[in-house]
């Protein structure tokens, strides 16, 4: 059998660069740095314009061809990727897919709602035409036999998969420093982390390397990097999007999430991927609305578009240990929401602080089980061994990273006879408490708000030797996963740092399957937020 395994870290190859895109000589990624003459205009899109509706309009009106649109993004990838390293693998069929789409448009065939839209896919989502490693060396070169359901639905909607984005190994981490391959840089300041674990997906959308991207969120892995990178990030209700084809980290918490540079983009992608899947018994049959159709442009709204909406600020999220700049950004956002007509109050979630330890016990326990399949017997990197236990031991010792091993050990311990009741069972009881306190709060308020992370993006290496500090960074997000609720993060302000400040995200939480409400409110908030431009400097620096 011929080996399909390619070097997944190889970026664009020179042969694929089409001549009509640029007058520049095609070059490989090694000479990216010497490509300063692309004008910033072509690179920097306007932050407030939603890309997906405009791409669709351009395509259908014939103003632009799909290959031209794709080429814009590929150009931007070529320029920015050497610095950012958002991807583990880039698709080599983007232009081929775009050409095929152009042919369809010319023939007047139906094209889907995501036609011509380049989407980055987190590497823990299986793709049939690209390696899928979950950020782990143990799956180096692994090529799935099938597309994840979310990926299949993207393709069916006409999307073009741009590549596989970098992540902390199997989703365990908050920085992408835990990737088995490389660290992704934050487009706002390349000395900083993009957040994680879906850091590659967040950075790619932030740097407009793709229009939107998929991530996964087990304890905040979509929301925290969205906040760090200044993009919109949505963690849907548990079960809203099929997990089939998502490499499991913690099955009872994992959800596939979406990144976009605008709320509308995020809503359109969610409409495409949500829904029941017969391959995932935990996927919901709850009806999927057309999330974007309910959004209204700002100029058509009155001055108090959120009149009557009750918003609760979670008290525990603005206390000690939260960066001052973050607190003031969230307070500013809450008064902005008030100006839009909503009634803002303060709400306390009594079990808030219990969520973090409970989360780490449950997630590690499930992970210790979910990762048992990476035994190198059927697939993945296999160590040389002449004995079965050595085969298991050496393959996993070499293939899995430090953080993953630590969580497997923690989870194995928590599930061991004699400890189960003290750890796993108690954590499940906490989970019930967390669910109840959210329910009580959401009986009072339509939407709860909090920061998405206690700080803005921090320096690469800053927390690598302090796992507890890293875990503490998840305090804003893990409770939402324990409760299974949907949550939307929208950029709301900046704190000092980097060349032009660091973005801060506002987290909005609502009750199960009310993504529509979150997206509507997020859309109004985003449009009415004046004076901020969430396009990172990396796009204009070059």
């Amino acid at each position: 059998m011929p080996s399909p395994i390619q070097n997944p870290r190889l970026l664009l190859t020179s042969t694929r660069i089409p001549l009509y895109l640029s007058s520049k000589t095609p070059c490989t990624h090694r000479c990216f740095a010497s490509l300063p003459s692309l004008s910033p205009q072509t690179l920097a899109p306007q932050s407030t314009t939603s890309s997906i509706p405009s791409i669709r309009e351009s395509l259908l009106s014939g103003r632009k061809k799909a290959v031209e649109i794709a080429a814009e993004y590929l150009d931007r990838i070529r320029l920015t990727e050497p610095q950012l390293k958002s991807f583990i693998h880039l698709s080599d069929s983007v232009l081929k897919d775009a050409l095929e789409l152009d042919r369809k448009v010319e023939n007047g065939e139906d094209v889907g709602p995501l036609a011509g839209v380049l989407v980055g896919v987190k590497d823990n989502l299986c793709t049939v035409d690209m390696p899928s490693t979950g950020g782990s060396r143990i799956l180096d070169g692994y090529r799935p036999a099938f597309d994840a359901t979310a990926v299949r639905k993207l393709r069916e909607a006409g999307a073009i998969i741009a590549g596989k984005t970098n992540m902390d190994e199997f989703g365990m981490g908050s920085t992408t420093e835990g990737s088995g391959f490389h660290v992704t840089k934050n487009p706002w300041d390349t000395s900083r982390v993009p957040g994680g674990s879906s850091g590659g997906s967040a950075a790619a959308v932030s740097a407009r390397q793709c229009v939107a991207s998929l991530g996964s969120d087990t304890g905040g892995s979509v929301r925290q990097p969205a906040s760090f990178c200044g993009v919109v990030g949505l963690k849907p209700t548990y079960g809203r999007v099929s997990r089939f084809g998502l490499m499991a980290y913690a099955s009872s918490l994992d959800v596939v999430g979406v990144f976009g540079s605008s709320v509308i983009d995020t809503a359109i992608v969610l409409s495409a991927i949500a829904g029941h899947d017969r391959l995932d018994a935990t996927s919901s049959s709850h009806e999927v609305p057309d999330y974007s159709s309910e959004m209204i442009a700002l100029d058509q709204l009155n001055s108090k578009p959120l009149k009557g909406l009750k918003i609760g600020v979670i008290k525990e999220t603005l206390g000690d240990g939260i960066e001052a700049g973050v607190v003031s950004s969230i307070k500013a956002a809450s008064s902005h929401l008030e100006q839009l007509g909503s009634i803002v109050g303060e709400v306390s979630l009594s079990s808030f602080d219990l969520g973090l330890p409970a989360y780490y016990i449950l997630a590690s326990s499930e992970a210790s089980s979910n990762l048992a399949r990476y035994d190198s017997v059927r697939y993945g990197q296999q160590a040389d061994a002449d004995d079965l236990s050595l085969l298991y031991g050496d393959s996993r010792a070499k293939g899995l990273g430090h953080e993953v091993k630590m969580r497997i050990l923690m989870g194995t311990y928590a599930l061991s006879a004699g400890y189960y009741d003290a750890y796993y069972k108690r954590a499940q009881q906490v989970r019930t408490l967390v669910q109840k306190s959210f329910k009580d709060a959401l009986d009072q308020y339509d939407i709860l708000i909090s920061p998405a992370a206690p700080s803005a993006a921090y320096k690469i290496g800053e927390k690598t030797n302090d796992p507890l500090a890293m875990y503490a960074g998840d305090i804003m997000t893990v409770n939402v996963n324990l409760a299974g609720l949907p949550s939307l993060v929208v950029p709301c302000g900046f704190v000092e740092g980097g060349a032009s400040g660091l973005p801060v995200g506002l987290q909005m939480i609502s009750s199960s399957f009310s993504e529509g409400k979150l997206l509507r409110v997020g859309h109004i908030f985003e449009q009415s937020l004046q004076g901020y431009n969430f396009v990172p400097p990396v796009l204009s620096e070059n």
Partner: protein, 548 residues
């Protein structure tokens, strides 16, 4: 699908794993002639010999027990005959080429998820009810975790603290040749789980290959209470369980193909001792007779160790039965209890049943072996007959249909257990395959009973009916087999024979009355066997004695 999938991980398309002597112990089933127990054999001839030899075994064992008591519990895995596996849509058929009935889900590829096959629940409830269990209206799946190359996910989806059924029992009628008697064996629990794949060991022993065809095939594990005391009871428990799974149609219960596998726990304790002795697990028994022998061997081994003061040599271990040497031998010692780190399977929702669902299944249950045996007993059949008939539900259907067609129970049982069973055994066919319908057997029985044909002629035409079919009436007419019951016709035949044999008549009348047999034979011969023997005797006697 399989080929397509292999493209995905061609790096390890041929799954080879190094073999470590202790861990990957060769578990090769020893093929042996399936020894059918006497009462299951379908042959009445074979019984007495077998019976005496088994009685001898039993007595020998009783002697050897010498004040010790054996405690036996059985865990049985039954493979369900659903059309697809438990958590994916792969079919399963025994004996397929390796790795041809597999898919990403049952191979445990990254990102795949289990989706429960609802038939598995239906079958579990069916068997649970058939075993008189309490059904859990709400149960869940759990993961049982251990590493082994035949377990693709690194865990087996099973049920831990809430099995789908629990607290039942199984009624067993022990065979007459073992002293008979009715026993009730407790069923602790029935739970759903998935099967693992298989390791195929190379002839050189240097590597093993993994065949995942069986991975994900649905199983029910039935755990008995430690209620059995000897090999026969254990074998009878297992054989009754096999009957039940076949009756309710959840499994083919085939032991050779591994569709029904029994792991037996045996411990021995001195009489009067309260606590159990150290239990030893025995695996690899391919038949009920192997089970019986393996258990009795193990009991004797343990008793011997007790008597030699070496009870400490009885350790928690798994032993395999070797049919060739008729012994058990150590497979692996258990060091402490294995910690499977069970926790609730997060990929599968809870299994919640409604009363309607359970009631519907309850209503659909067929009459079970125990009920059949009691019904047959009430018909006045002997326990030997009852056990024979109720052993196989096809035989039951046949027998019941005969009765419905008016046949007398005892007569129908005799025919089925005698000539028909002998035919089935010789031709190795099932009762469903013979051409003689239950209706015609009933007709045959009544034709003999009402004197239309003689019993002798009945036996003669039975074979033809079994092989070629047709009706009893048709054959009687075609072959002119109707019994002569007209006294005048018989009288004429008798007169003719008497007239033809004056010498014998004279001898008879002068006292040699045993010559009556000679005359009867002559008349029967003349009638081509059709003369009614009772009438014949009556008329012949009248005629012979008339001259006195």
């Amino acid at each position: 699908m399989a080929l397509f999938i292999f493209r995905g991980f061609c790096a390890n398309a041929i799954i080879l794993i190094p073999k470590n002597g202790a861990f990957l112990h060769k578990i090769r089933p020893k093929r042996s002639q399936f020894e059918v127990q006497a009462r299951r054999s379908g042959s009445t001839e074979a019984r007495p010999a077998q019976k005496s030899s088994q009685m001898a075994t039993r007595e020998r064992q009783q002697q050897q027990l010498q004040g010790f008591e054996a405690i036996i519990g059985i865990e049985t895995h039954v493979q369900l005959q659903t059309s697809t596996k438990a958590f994916c849509r792969c079919p399963y058929s025994y004996g397929s080429d390796p790795n041809t009935t597999i898919c990403p889900v049952c191979m445990g590829l990254p990102g795949t998820l289990p989706v429960l096959n609802s038939r598995v629940v239906e079958f579990a409830v069916k068997l649970g009810l058939a075993l008189n269990c309490e059904i859990s209206m709400k149960s869940k799946f759990d993961r049982k975790q251990y590493f082994y190359p035949d377990l693709p996910k690194g865990y087996q989806i099973s049920q831990f603290d809430i099995p789908i059924a629990k607290g039942g029992f199984l009624d067993v009628d022990l065979p007459v040749e073992f002293g008979g008697g009715h026993k009730k064996f407790g069923i602790t629990r029935v739970h759903m789980e998935e099967d693992a794949g298989k390791l195929v060991h190379s002839d050189t022993g240097s590597f093993s290959q993994v065949d995942l065809n069986r991975a994900g095939v649905p199983l029910l594990e039935i755990v008995s209470e430690p209620d059995m005391r000897n090999g026969i009871e254990a074998a009878e428990y297992a054989s009754e369980l096999q009957r039940v799974v076949r009756y309710v149609g959840v499994s083919n219960g085939n032991m050779q193909e591994g569709s029904l596998r029994c792991d037996v726990n045996v411990s021995v304790r001195p009489g009067g001792q309260q606590e159990f002795g150290t239990k030893v697990e025995i695996k690899n028994m391919n038949s009920f007779s192997a089970m019986n022998k393996a258990i009795d061997y193990e009991i004797n081994r343990q008793i011997l160790l007790h008597k030699q003061g070496q009870a400490n040599q009885i350790v928690q271990e798994t032993r395999l039965w070797d049919d060739a040497t008729q012994k058990t031998f150590t497979m692996r010692k258990k060091e402490g209890l294995a910690d499977y780190r069970y926790f609730p399977e997060p990929d599968l929702p809870e299994v919640v049943l409604t009363d309607e669902y359970v009631d519907q299944i309850r209503k659909s249950l067929p009459e079970l072996p125990e009920a059949k045996r009691r019904r047959y007993e009430n018909m006045g059949l002997t326990m030997q007959d009852v056990l024979f008939l109720a052993n196989d539900d096809d035989v039951c259907d046949y027998f019941d249909s005969c009765i419905q067609n008016g046949a007398e129970a005892k007569l129908a049982a005799n025919w089925i257990m005698g000539d028909i069973a002998a035919y089935l055994k010789n031709e190795k066919v099932s009762i469903k395959e013979i051409k003689l319908t239950p209706k015609e057997l009933a007709e045959l029985i009544s034709s003999i009973k009402n004197g239309t044909i003689s019993g002798k002629i009945g036996k003669e035409i039975l074979n033809e009916l079994i092989c070629k079919g047709g009706t009893v009436q048709g054959l009687i007419l075609e072959k002119d087999l109707v019994q002569i019951v007209d006294p005048a016709a018989i009288e004429a035949l008798v007169d003719g024979v008497i007239a033809e044999n004056p010498k014998q008549l004279e001898q008879y009348r002068s006292g040699r009355t045993k010559l009556q047999g000679f005359f009867a034979g002559q008349v029967m011969k003349k009638s081509k066997g059709k003369a009614n023997p009772v009438l014949l005797t009556k008329i012949l006697q009248e005629k012979l004695n008339a001259g006195n």
